[in-house]
């Protein structure tokens, strides 16, 4: 605790970034193989609603002024995630519908709440595009806590999630409860999205979940490799993003995403070259 309190704002940002760079690709790999990476977009927007609600509450209700908007963001993200799961069951043959439904509801509600709350443009800007220099101690606690919870869920259900992602019917016949796993997975995704909010930003959080694994799947031969390479790429993009955004004073999320795209391009080139190499030999 004491050590955490002595951290400079930059150190806080770096620690937060490294945690996020580790966990996003880990969960992204499961979203990828389940073909639902798009869910991260829906959840980031509903998280925005939660954050605006938090800001609005802390202004409107005096005794709620201690509320960190990240917590309300998480609650909305969780509700959104469970709702997506529900909608996917209701529209079983049109599962992609769940995303635009949640996404547009999220933006609509956010717009209403933003106009009610009186905040500076700057505050929203840092939520939209991410900012490393505004990570408070309270935010860091939130990120560590949600990161730990996410790791716990993954540690408990890694095998089960992999089996269900590959072949749900078979997984069921080995005694794995699909409903229970889907619930925990929804919680996991909600944790990861709301935790990334402060550093990467609402508009770009989907990229942190997607880009590293999109790069790693190009060269990975196993699921394990998708995860390991994904984490390496995620952390690389994160460190590059933090360094450049600090020295050049650009929005952190933006630089992280640009770094992720560069990695993606490089892995695609590497894949091409190695394929051309094996074909020629």
């Amino acid at each position: 605790m004491e050590i955490l309190q002595q951290l400079t704002f930059l150190e806080r940002g770096i620690i937060a970034g490294l945690i996020i760079g580790f966990i996003c690709p880990l969960v992204g790999a499961f979203l990828l193989v389940r073909r639902i990476t798009i869910i991260s977009e829906a959840l980031s927007h509903i998280t925005l609603t939660g954050i605006t609600a938090g800001v609005f509450l802390s202004q409107a209700v005096i005794w709620l002024n201690f509320v960190n908007p990240l917590y309300t963001g998480f609650l909305f993200s969780l509700a959104g995630s469970l709702l997506v799961e529900k909608l996917r069951q209701i529209y079983r043959h049109f599962q992609e519908l769940a995303v635009p439904i949640i996404l547009s509801s999220g933006i609509g509600l956010s717009a209403v709440l933003i106009s009610l709350a009186q905040s500076s443009y700057n505050e929203w800007y840092s939520y939209l595009f991410g900012s490393i220099v505004t990570v408070t101690l309270n935010d860091l606690f939130f990120i560590m806590f949600t990161g730990l919870a996410a790791l716990l869920i993954l540690g408990a259900f890694y095998k089960e999630l992999l089996s269900i992602s590959f072949d749900q019917e078979f997984a069921e016949t080995t005694g794995i409860s699909v409903n229970r796993l889907n619930f925990f997975f929804a919680v996991l995704v909600a944790l990861v999205i709301s935790m990334s909010m402060k550093v990467v930003g609402i508009l770009l959080v989907g990229a942190m979940v997607t880009l590293p694994v999109a790069a790693s799947i190009q060269i990975a031969k196993s699921f394990k490799q998708v995860i390991i390479l994904g984490i390496i790429f995620g952390e690389t993009a994160m460190i590059a993003g933090i360094a450049l955004s600090y020295y050049l004073n650009i929005a952190t999320g933006g630089v992280i995403v640009v770094a992720g795209v560069v990695i993606l391009i490089i892995t695609n080139l590497v894949k091409r070259l190695t394929q051309a190499g094996t074909a020629a030999s």
Binding site: E160, F166, F170, T174, G175
Partner: protein
């Protein structure tokens, strides 16, 4: 025919009916399967074979009737590692899925290992053994999507075998497997059945090849038309086939249902 009376039933299906909508896909099925038998389950397309299998495995919840596995009602049964399953649609997975043969086969153990635990050395040996059993050891680190259909099918069989089940259920496992491999495969099943005493249920359309290997046969077309020994089946095969694939089903059904009941209500001669 003599009945091996002392042996417990692996599976007891009573009055089982399942419908996806208004029409029953299977109706009033009564079937008891002895431990150690190798049952061939046949019937035309849409006759309810897969529906019956899924009801046994708890993937579908039948509207009527009951299933007991190893003497336990389905909803109380927890020991799923005792059952191996190869689905008819096994290779309809996303072929871009980044998993190796080893990873796919290891999934057969996941339900058994439990939360927070990972594969031990002993598990790893079992996985390799199962892969060798289906002759895929040269492909162990290959991506599953990059294998041929028949090779994928072998991997799924290894995934079903890896937990060392005492009941193995295979729904058309040899679709896409070449003729020689099919024979090898049936021989392997027969070995599992005879040497390890694994009870087998094999759904197939390949009636000719099947009947050389199985000990028992069941024919269904919504209703159960026949259940008996392989020899008895061969004896009645022609009549059976025209009944199943040809004429009006309903009329014959009641006859055979009846016949079937006799066989199992104490085995009284007809």
């Amino acid at each position: 025919m003599e009945r091996k009376k002392e042996r417990p039933y692996v599976l007891e299906i009573e009055n089982l009916s399942y419908s996806y909508g208004r029409r029953n896909a299977i109706e009033n099925i009564n079937l008891k399967i002895d431990e150690g038998s190798f049952l061939g389950l046949v019937g035309p397309n849409g006759s309810g074979k897969s529906t019956l299998i899924k009801s046994i495995l708890g993937l579908l919840t039948p509207q009527k009737g009951s299933v007991k596995i190893f003497g336990k009602p389905l909803n109380k049964f927890r020991d799923w590692s005792r059952i191996g399953f190869v689905s008819q649609k096994a290779n309809s997975f996303n072929s871009g899925f980044p998993a190796t043969v080893y990873e796919v086969v290891s999934m057969g153990l996941y339900g058994k290992i439990g939360m927070f635990r990972f594969l031990t050395k002993k598990h790893k040996e079992k996985i390799i053994e199962a892969i060798e059993q289906v002759g895929m050891e040269d492909y162990i680190n290959q991506n599953i999507g990059q294998l041929s259909g028949g090779q994928q099918q072998r991997v799924f069989i290894a995934r079903a075998l890896v937990s060392e089940p005492s009941l193995l259920i295979l729904d058309e496992p040899t679709v896409g497997v070449d003729a020689r491999s099919v024979n090898n495969f049936y021989t392997m099943l027969k070995q599992l059945n005879e040497e390890k005493g694994i009870t087998l249920i094999l759904v197939t359309h390949d009636i000719g090849a099947m009947s050389e290997y199985v000990t028992d046969v069941a024919c269904i077309n919504k209703f159960l038309h026949f259940h008996g020994g392989a020899q008895e089946f061969e004896f009645q095969q022609e009549e059976m086939m025209s009944a199943l694939y040809g004429h009006d089903v309903q009329v014959l059904t009641h006859n055979h249902d009846h016949h079937h009941h006799h066989e199992y209500d104490g085995g009284a001669p007809q």
